[in-house]
């Protein structure tokens, strides 16, 4: 089947029900998208499908064939994603970093739909888990991004 990932077409020989996560990681060798739980609980595997955030660990690959998938590897090719990364570095969000690919993808998806989110909108959208406890820093980075948009 053909997948469109980061604006490139890939032919993959996989079963229809293989989770997108493992196709991205093992078949295509892009390891920025992380495995955390396999149950859509933690969000470490967040990717964008047609601009919406999706948890790749429970998304059958057949369901996204022909759609535009964006992974963390191409995040800086996106104007919004590039700003998110810059804010994440500026506010020194990452600790161990393992969940941050997913956090950056979730942030990018939110800002694409809602360029200047309110605190409540940030709270509703930024629900990925972080065991290092970077939640305050994530919120600060998001507030800053929202403020940039308003200014």
């Amino acid at each position: 089947m053909e997948l469109r990932i980061n604006q490139k077409a890939y032919q993959v020989e996989v079963d229809a029900d293989t989770p997108l996560l493992w196709v991205i990681r093992d078949d295509l060798g892009m390891t920025g998208t992380k495995y955390g739980c396999g149950l859509a609980q933690c969000g470490a595997c967040s990717v964008l499908v047609d601009g919406n955030v999706v948890r790749a660990c429970v998304t059958p690959v057949a369901a996204v064939a022909g759609r535009e998938i964006t992974t963390i590897e191409a995040i800086e090719a996106d104007d919004v994603g590039k700003r998110v990364v810059a804010a994440w570095v500026e506010h020194q969000v990452a600790q161990c970093g393992y969940c941050q690919s997913g956090q950056v993808m979730a942030a990018t998806a939110l800002l694409k739909h809602t360029p200047a989110p309110t605190t409540a909108q940030i709270d509703a959208a930024m629900v990925n888990l972080c065991r290092c406890g970077t939640y305050n820093a994530i919120h600060t980075a998001m507030d800053d991004l929202a403020k940039q948009e308003r200014a």
Partner: protein, 745 residues
């Protein structure tokens, strides 16, 4: 953790081979090292060996300076989010005179050269990395700078005394000439390492990077998916593996009912039986996982002589807690001052209470994995998450019979650790990965699914503590006694050491600074059925909760405000008095409540202190009740680690420790029923989500006292501060964790 791993064997004695080949072999997977430096002429080896008695003086083992002037530093410590690689670049860079931003830091291989901590061991844990290696790592940078200056003098043909440095360059001011470190590295690193006694360190008033909020070196890579963890690695010809563990530790594989069908599943290379597990090797991990979960195994009960701590079929955490509560002794004293029995007998008021906590999982986001490859010459390479490379290599040598020199151990970034990656006999995937690589003759990357991880993770210990205290006629405590029925993590791992108390069992009940003249802290050692391990802040994570919550009970009983009582009990301790007042001031002044906040919610505040890992912390928490659950609005934390290297990283560590502290306070609990964990994933083992996080406010106090730790010390005071606030708000005493077990209205 006072004595972090007083395990019987600390195999640190293997000589490090400082050959250039050896060094390069230690670089990251597939990295093409084009840099110059660390070559290993014999002069260099001799120089390094000559100084072997002095820790951290083998400069060429640590540093590579590339032609472009960038500095590659091999760190004795693992980076798992705590920022130690950035701190090491700051410390070494300060004395080397090289901007930390020009550093690339990786974990060093095993070897005596990298044992730089003053306690003579090498682990990344116990919040020890910076505080135990600070002078040594500064000296390392200074030694390297001296070598560069010497090389500069030779290359420029000028007297050494005429040379100075500026960041990354040796400068001859008289002639206006200068040379970049990259141009001098080849010559410099072939020079003998100078006598450490001849080195003068920079005056702290002149620091450019130490003490400053230098940006983390890994921030960009970790924000763009470029950072590589063990789970991400691959080597040529590699196969993937997944396991299904025995439902209870100690059980062994009897027979596989459907092996042929599983072998015929898509992508399956082979099916294997391992100690306490079955494994599937496949071309893709997803295939391996699906196939291994399809295996129907007849498991056998643990043999009577099993070396593992066999999990009984009737083990339940609730029943075990009741069992601990019923223990009457014998108890062994760890601290005993004054006449506790007499004070209790003559007390105007006596207070008694029983507290307990819960088992916890580490639940770090990166599931454990290991990559093992046997090379054609029979040597072995292993990539694995670890907090103690020498111990892991020694263990691999023991298991495989290979000479340690033929084992290359790589330590990639850790996707969180919190104590998870110590040497736990039954809780690491590398023995399985090595066995499978040997069996199939190809490299194997084994990943434990989240479910298999929850089944084998070691637990933070459980304790039931019985307190008794005496108040005088002014309502002030004059005696306190705590008897804890528990097993500490170190004695669980290494076995009970005769009559010795495991300090990690009682720390946090012991080591308190309050002026209470009569005190007794004792342990009833109760070996339990669950395998235990270290969890961020170790014994303090439970014991400071017990003590500080009970102290609030004493304040209430004696008619004293808990903040004022603490100040009174610390009246002869200026350092802790300053700290406690700083936390109160940070919160806008001590205000216990309850009161009505601007949003109309009823709120109250609690206070608590802790002194773990050489640092001191004071926390004020503000809570309300929302939909029957505790909502923590703010945590104000003042921390005094003596002195610090990076205030921004310290702030982040406090925020992170608060999050983990809130998580154990509000909702985490590892529950076993019928010998099995109820939770095998985050659905039934909730960890703190963003919606339950508090706003964290941090005040760092540099008292100038001996440097303490940072990764763990901010955690222990969180639980009691929250519990004390909840008690004040609701009138309901909190004597156990987590709070999700309580109903509030």
């Amino acid at each position: 953790m006072n004595t972090p791993l007083s395990l019987p064997e600390l195999p640190l004695g293997d000589p490090v081979n400082l050959s250039r080949r050896r060094f390069l072999a230690s670089t990251a997977v597939g990295a093409l090292v084009i840099g110059f430096g660390l070559p290993l002429g014999s002069a260099r080896v001799q120089a390094a060996t000559a100084n072997a008695a002095e820790r951290g003086t083998q400069v060429p083992a640590f540093l590579e300076i590339r032609p472009d002037g960038s500095v590659r530093l091999l760190s004795p410590f693992m980076e798992g989010g705590q920022g130690t690689h950035t701190a090491m670049a700051q410390i070494v860079g300060e004395e080397l005179d090289a901007d930390p931003a020009t550093f690339v830091v990786e974990a060093a291989p095993p070897g005596e050269a990298y044992v730089v901590m003053e306690n003579g061991i090498r682990i990344t844990g116990g919040s020890m990395s910076v505080r135990m290696s600070y002078p040594t790592m500064r000296r390392l940078g200074a030694l390297a700078r001296a070598m560069l200056l010497q090389a500069g003098a030779e290359q420029l043909g000028v007297p050494l005394a005429e040379l100075t440095t500026q960041p990354g360059r040796v400068v001859h001011a008289a002639s206006g000439r200068s040379l970049g470190y990259g141009e001098l590295a080849g010559r410099a690193l072939d020079l003998p390492v100078p006598d450490p006694a001849s080195i003068t360190l920079r005056d702290p008033s002149q620091f450019r990077w130490i003490g400053k909020p230098v940006k983390r070196l890994d921030a960009y890579d970790k924000s763009t998916g470029k950072a590589l963890y063990t789970i991400d690695l691959k080597v040529d010809d590699m196969l993937h593996a997944a396991v299904q563990h025995a439902p209870r530790l100690g059980m062994t594989v009897g027979s596989l009912r459907n092996q042929a069908q599983v072998e015929a599943m898509k992508g399956v290379h082979s099916v294997h039986t391992l100690p306490g597990a079955v494994a599937v090797v496949a071309e893709r991990w997803w295939h391996a996982k699906r196939a291994v979960e399809a295996i129907q195994v007849d498991w056998l009960e643990a043999a009577a002589d099993s070396k593992l701590r066999a999990m009984p079929a009737d083990f339940s955490t609730d029943k075990h807690r009741e069992f601990l509560a019923a223990q009457q002794g014998p108890a062994r004293d760890d601290e005993h001052e004054g006449d506790v029995a007499g004070a209790l007998k003559n007390a105007k008021t006596r207070v008694e209470a029983t507290y307990h906590n819960q088992y916890l999982n580490h639940a770090q986001l990166e599931p454990p994995s290991a990559l093992a490859r046997f090379n054609p010459d029979g040597s072995l390479e292993v990539w694995l998450p670890n907090q103690a490379p020498d111990m892991f290599r020694a263990d691999i040598a023991k298991r495989t019979g290979l000479d340690p020199a033929r084992i290359t151990l790589h330590s990639p970034l850790l996707g969180g650790f919190f104590g998870r990656h110590f040497l736990y006999e039954s809780a690491n995937p590398y023995p399985q990965a090595i066995a499978l690589a040997k069996a199939v003759g190809r490299p194997i990357k084994l990943i434990w699914s989240r479910e298999e991880e929850f089944l084998r993770d070691v637990l933070r210990p459980l304790a039931v503590v019985k307190f008794r205290a005496a108040l005088d006629d002014k309502g002030l405590p004059v005696a306190i006694e705590a008897v804890s029925a528990t097993e500490g993590p170190t004695e669980a791992l290494a076995g009970k050491q005769g009559d010795k108390i495991d300090p990690t069992a009682l720390e946090g009940l012991t080591g308190k600074s309050y002026a209470i003249p009569n005190k007794r802290i004792a342990q009833i050692y109760v070996k339990g059925p669950a395998m235990l391990g270290y969890w961020r802040s170790v014994g303090n994570s439970l014991n400071d909760f017990f003590y500080e919550a009970f102290l609030d009970e004493l304040a209430d009983k004696g008619g004293h405000d808990p903040y004022e009582l603490r100040l009174h009990l610390l009246r002869d301790n200026p350092r802790l008095t300053t700290l406690l007042k700083a936390a109160a001031e940070l919160s806008g002044g001590w205000r216990r409540g309850p009161y009505t906040a601007e949003d109309g919610s009823r709120r109250a505040r609690g206070v608590a202190m802790a002194s773990p890992f050489g640092s001191h912390a004071a926390v004020v928490a503000e809570v309300s009740i929302e939909h029957g659950q505790v909502k923590v609005h703010h945590i104000w934390e003042a921390i005094d680690p003596g002195s610090i290297v990076n205030p921004a990283i310290v702030q982040a560590q406090v925020a992170g420790a608060v999050a983990l502290g809130l998580s154990q306070t509000l909702l985490e609990e590892a529950v076993y029923v019928d010998g099995k964990p109820r939770a095998r994933n985050y659905d039934l083992y909730p960890i703190l989500p963003p919606s339950r996080m508090a706003q964290v406010h941090v005040k760092i106090i540099e008292s100038g006292e001996k440097m303490g730790g940072i990764g763990e010390p901010p955690l222990p005071a969180v639980a009691p501060a929250v519990a004390n606030a909840v008690a004040q708000l609701t009138g309901q005493r909190i004597r156990s964790l987590p709070l999700s077990r309580y109903t509030f209205s």
